[in-house]
Structures are given as structure tokens and as C-alpha cells.
Subunit: 369 residues, 2 copies
């Protein structure tokens, strides 16, 4: 079964309060020398992601980040900085800080440029895995910006005509202010993320033929073929491939970051080394272009049209992107976040790595399995 080293502990599901989980993340990161401010920024990204129900990209990853912070490939006291800039753009060197700190810094650079010029671009090099791409534009949308985030990664996704992987699963996210919660989309450029293939493998299920190729380059319905040298397929064939390539151009070529196979996997590669990930952030300050209230009212007109449209058979509701995540967050902030076993396992391992008693340090209820 395809498991990485982060999953070497057994665990059961826990229900925890968001504030308690944030405190645990901050304690873990400050215990290895990170500033309280940077630790809180990181906790904000990771715990918000868990409140959205996106447990694949939240605190689950913390053990991997800490391994590299302790190994030296990430700098626990790194300071992202602008190394070149112009009226509407900035190039950020992340100094191999944890990806969340660099990415919040860069998103805010793009927002500052947009406040001056209407639109702003920040490219990023010397970064690492940045978690859920959607966090950064959501942050900006909360302050009245339309915003985009994207990042490159080591190749795992194929393309039409190719036998194996050519591009990363290169995430793309955007958010837009509305009268209510922002519209927010966060997507990989593959048909599905590797985690979905792993789940099908675990449950011995066949998968659709457009999810993966086997190592010979043939589409396969057997999830095991992915872990035996296969690759993911791009969403919509040439379309997802083309979007992944645009992201490589902006987050990689224009940023000065690593390109495709120059990037190292953030989980399994030598933790004494930097991974070379790049990213790019774009912000548009709506209020510079039209009154923000007018813009929101136009967006709300589109959203209402969608909500009021006839439903497909069996459908009760048509969601706009991000609406499901916003709903889950509201529940999680009241009832607590349910961390599934595959999230608790690496947290438990992390606690062991750091000599902490996880269950003593993180107030929780055990959720019956």
C-alpha cells in the first residue's frame, strides 16, 4: 500500500476546537525556533484549510514541514524579501521560509502593488509546498481584491502523447469578493489529485480511465498502476496540460524558481535541501476600477442567477465555488473540526518527533470510528 513515512502511526479520528489546533501548531513551530508571528501565520493557513474540510492540505502536512525545518532545507528563521520590483510587480525570494509565511508575504505584496496600480503581480522563488492554494486569494478577497494563486511542483502529471509525467499537478486558485462569502476555487490541473487514486487503491476500487496512465503510458482503471510508475492525467486532456504549463511559465520561468524536474518532492526528498518550488500571486484592487459595492452587486446578480436556476435530477442546490467550504467552516467553528485518522496519524508522529504528548497537549474528543 502506498504510504509515506508521515503515516507510520496508528490513529483514530479526533474532534478538536480550531483555536486549540492553532495553539498546537504554534507551539510545535515555536518549539523548533520559529517566531511566534510566523508560527501564527502558518497556523492560520493550515487550520483554516482544515475548517474548510480540505483535510488533505491542512495540519496533516505539518510533520513534513517540520522535518525539513529541522533538517535545514527550510529556514526556521527565514525572512522572505522583495529582491526586485516595479510599479505593479515584485519578485519575492522566500529565503526558504516555510511556504505559508512566504506565500502570505507575497500575496500581500501583490495586494500592495494593486492598491497603487489597480493590478499587482508577485512571483516567488525559494519557496516550498504552500498548502491549499485557495487560502491566499481568500485572504485578499476578504479585503476587496480579486486574486489568483498558483505554484509549480515536481512532475506527476502526463499530457496527450506523453508516456509519463511532464508537469506538476500545479495548483491554481482564485477568489472574488461578493456580498457574502467570497467565491473561491482551488484546483489541481490533473483530473483528480493523487489522494483520490490512493483512496481507490485502499478500497480496491476501479477508477475512470481519465484519471491515470500506467508506466507504459496507457490509460488504466487500476489505481495500483499509478503507484507502480504511473502518472496522473491532466483534466480535460490538452486543456489541463496547457493550464499546468501556463502556471509553470508564471510560477517557475518568470520567478526564477526551479523548473519541472529541478524541483524536489517536499515529503520524501533529503530534508537538508531546499525544494526549489516557485509560485505566483495576482491581485486586482476592485475599488480602484469600480465602487466595490457596485462590483459586489454585479457578482451577487450572477450568484443569485445560479442559485435560482433549475436543478438537475437528484440535485437540491447549485453551489458556487467555495460555498461548500464556507459552509463547513461555519460548522467547524461552532462544533469543532473532525480530524480523520490520516490527519491524526502524522500529528501523532510529529508529537513523537518533538517529544510532546499529543493527546495531552491538544484538547479533543475521540470520534467513534
Amino acid at each position: 500500500m502506498a504510504k509515506n513515512w508521515m503515516m507510520d502511526h496508528d490513529a483514530q479520528a479526533l474532534r478538536v476546537k480550531a483555536d486549540d489546533l492553532s495553539r498546537f501548531v504554534v507551539d510545535a513551530l515555536t518549539s523548533i525556533g520559529m517566531s511566534k508571528e510566523d508560527a501564527e501565520t502558518t497556523a492560520g493557513v493550515l487550520v483554516t484549510t482544515d475548517t474548510w474540510g480540505v483535510s488533505s492540505h491542512g495540519v496533516k502536512s505539518l510533520r513534513g514541514y517540520v522535518r525539513r525545518l529541522r533538517g535545514g532545507g527550510l529556514h526556521v528563521q527565514g525572512k522572505p524579501r522583495v529582491v526586485a520590483e516595479g510599479p505593479a510587480w515584485a519578485q519575492v525570494d522566500g529565503d526558504n521560509s516555510i511556504g505559508m509565511v512566504t506565500s502570505v508575504f507575497a500575496m500581500r505584496q501583490a495586494m500592495a502593488k494593486a492598491r497603487a496600480g489597480g493590478i499587482g503581480l508577485a512571483t516567488v522563488r525559494e519557496s516550498c509546498h504552500f498548502g491549499a492554494a485557495g487560502y491566499y486569494p481568500s485572504l485578499a478577497a476578504g479585503e476587496g481584491f480579486i486574486a489568483l494563486a498558483m505554484a509549480n511542483d515536481i512532475p506527476s502529471v502526463s499530457a496527450p502523447g506523453a508516456r509519463g509525467a511532464l508537469t506538476g499537478s500545479n495548483p491554481f486558485a482564485y477568489a472574488v469578493p461578493t456580498g457574502g462569502d467570497p467565491i473561491m476555487l482551488d484546483m489541481a490541473s490533473s483530473t483528480v489529485a493523487g489522494g483520490k487514486v490512493m483512496a481507490a487503491h485502499f478500497h480496491n476500487k476501479q477508477i475512470p480511465l481519465d484519471w491515470i496512465k500506467d508506466k507504459a503510458g496507457n490509460p488504466s482503471s487500476d489505481p495500483a498502476a499509478f503507484f507502480a510508475g504511473g502518472s496522473l492525467q491532466p483534466m480535460g486532456g490538452h486543456k489541463g496540460y496547457g493550464i499546468a504549463l501556463l502556471i509553470e511559465m508564471l510560477a517557475g520561468c518568470l520567478s526564477g524558481a526551479g523548473l519541472t524536474w529541478q524541483i524536489k518532492g517536499w515529503i520524501d526528498s533529503d530534508p537538508t535541501l531546499a525544494t526549489g518550488h516557485g509560485a505566483a500571486f495576482v491581485a486586482i484592487d476592485v475599488s480602484k476600477i469600480m465602487p466595490l459595492a457596485d462590483f459586489k452587486s454585479r457578482v451577487d446578480h450572477v450568484v443569485k442567477g445560479i442559485h435560482d436556476s433549475p436543478k438537475a435530477p437528484g440535485s437540491q442546490q447549485i453551489f458556487v465555488p467555495g460555498e461548500i467550504e464556507a459552509g463547513k467552516r461555519k460548522v467547524a467553528l461552532v462544533e469543532g473540526i473532525v480530524l480523520p485518522p490520516e490527519v491524526v496519524a502524522p500529528l501523532s508522529g510529529l508529537a513523537d518527533d518533538l517529544g510532546i504528548d499529543l493527546l495531552a497537549k491538544l484538547p479533543h474528543q475521540v470520534v467513534a470510528g
Copy 2:
């Protein structure tokens, strides 16, 4: 059979020189009062598209544009203008000029802003169908810019949970400078364009279940269901829907253009009325951020990696986006453009509309069917 009024003439395939086809387009447009400059701009967009082999979006559409120019819904002497601007953005009112003239104007506004600030945004209202989205970023990439183009349209595409159409097929295109031809992707946010469904219908073929929904909102493999009140499906389900919605936000909400159902179909609606289409263009002046030669060399590294990658069974070559179109253009500029019958039919109809003898005015060879 699903045919629109533009297809009321019988025709056979013709081979024509690009220059002769351009001259025909310019003559047709100047004969109804358009300036030579605007007619040449329009011919540049349409004939370039035909040299790429994208015959669905080239001179085939000219009859539809001329009908609206004569009807008054498009202004034959319209003058696109900047109605609001800031350091890195411009809002363009197209004055209901033909979409190609407005879009080239707006792309150049975005480029001018990018020359000053590094990145530039131009939004567009009072436009119409703009042809192949890829033309505009390709123009910019030829001058050293990374560029994007997008437009909204009357809804024809469904979404997860919806019975019918919610968004337009909202095209998105980008281009990036390389050491050779630009990388260029031009895509609809639906799984396939309506034209592909029409072709399957014509040939009595079943289609994959992710192409369309029938009028009850169920996925259908019968192309006839599309023309009986059905809708297209978004590429990759919620991903294509989310991308279409981002385009609506930028090209519609932020531009001041029509939104979703406020837009009129450009082929069949009353030609005395404006259609209300919007668009958005983004340009990044690479040379402001890093030396253009360094950027191109980084892009060429990625492209070479792709070209040199192992091929899938049965594949001889892995193309980067736009490479097939650039290859077809080189052949077309030497050997001529082959206009298939479904392009010659509306050109023949247009010639009748204007009292021109098409075959006398357009030097050609008949291509055996």
C-alpha cells in the same frame, strides 16, 4: 439538422491564398463603410485564425458580423475608447465596434500599461463575439509579453447540480514568448465546443457522457439532445464551471458589460441590437521583470524537456500548446488555406448579401471533395 441562417448556401471546399482572403475580407468590410484600417485589423484576426486551421472561428463568421454591422447593432465606424484608467489598468468601451477591432485595441492598452508597470489589465464592455481568443495574446507574445484573453457569452454550459446552462462557453487563451513560436492555448470552458456536438450529430455518432446534458439535466450520449434544449457540460465538472465563472467576474462584472443571460447571441439575435459581450485582457512585460532572453531560455528548457520526454504508445511527438497551429500556419502561408464547405457556404452567402460574385472576387482552386 442544426444549422443557422449563415449556412443557407451549398458550397465545396476551396484553396485560397492568405493574402487573397484578406483582401476579400477588407473589400467586404470597406464596402459597407468600415475604414480600411479597421477592416485590415479584422482581416488580420480572421485570416490568421484560418491559417491555424481553426476554421470554426475565422472568416466563417464574417457573414454574421456583417449582418449586425448593417443592422446597426454593431457600429461600422465605431471607435473603441478608454473610459477610465489607472497606472496598470484601463476600462475600454468598445462603442459596439466589430469585436476584433475592440479586442486588438484593448490588448494593446493592456500592453501599454504593462510597459509602464510590468503587468497591465484592460477590461472591455460594449463588444461582441471576438473570434479566436488566442489571436490577441499571440500578438502580444510576438512583442515579448506573456498575455491572457477571455470573454463572456450567453449561457450554453451547465454546472454540477444544474439542469441547464448557467455560464457561457467563456473562452480563455494565453500566449508566452519562447525562442521559437509562442506557446499558445485557446480553450472553451466546456468539455468540447458546440461544433463538435454538431459534427457528431451530422455523422449520427454517439458522444461521451461528459459532453452534454439533455433538457431534463441528465448526461446524454445522443448529440440530438443538445439541439433539443440541452446544454454543454463544463470541462472537468466543477473545474471548468469555476473557470467560466472567473471569466464572468473579470470580463463581465469588472468590465461593466452584460452578464450571463443579459448577453444576446451574436448569430441569431435581432441585428439592430448590441449583444453586450465583455472581455478582459492581461499583459505582462517580461523584459521589465527579467531579461527577455533569460526568460525565453528558461521557457525553452521546459519545452525541450517536454519534446524529449518518452512518448505514449502510438505517439510520435509531444506538442506544446500552439505548436500544431503554428505548423499549420507555415504550410498555409506557402500552399494556401483550404476553406472547408462549411466556411465557403457563409462566404458565398455573404457575397450574395453584398451583391458580389465570390468566385470571381476570390482567386481559388476547387478542392475535390
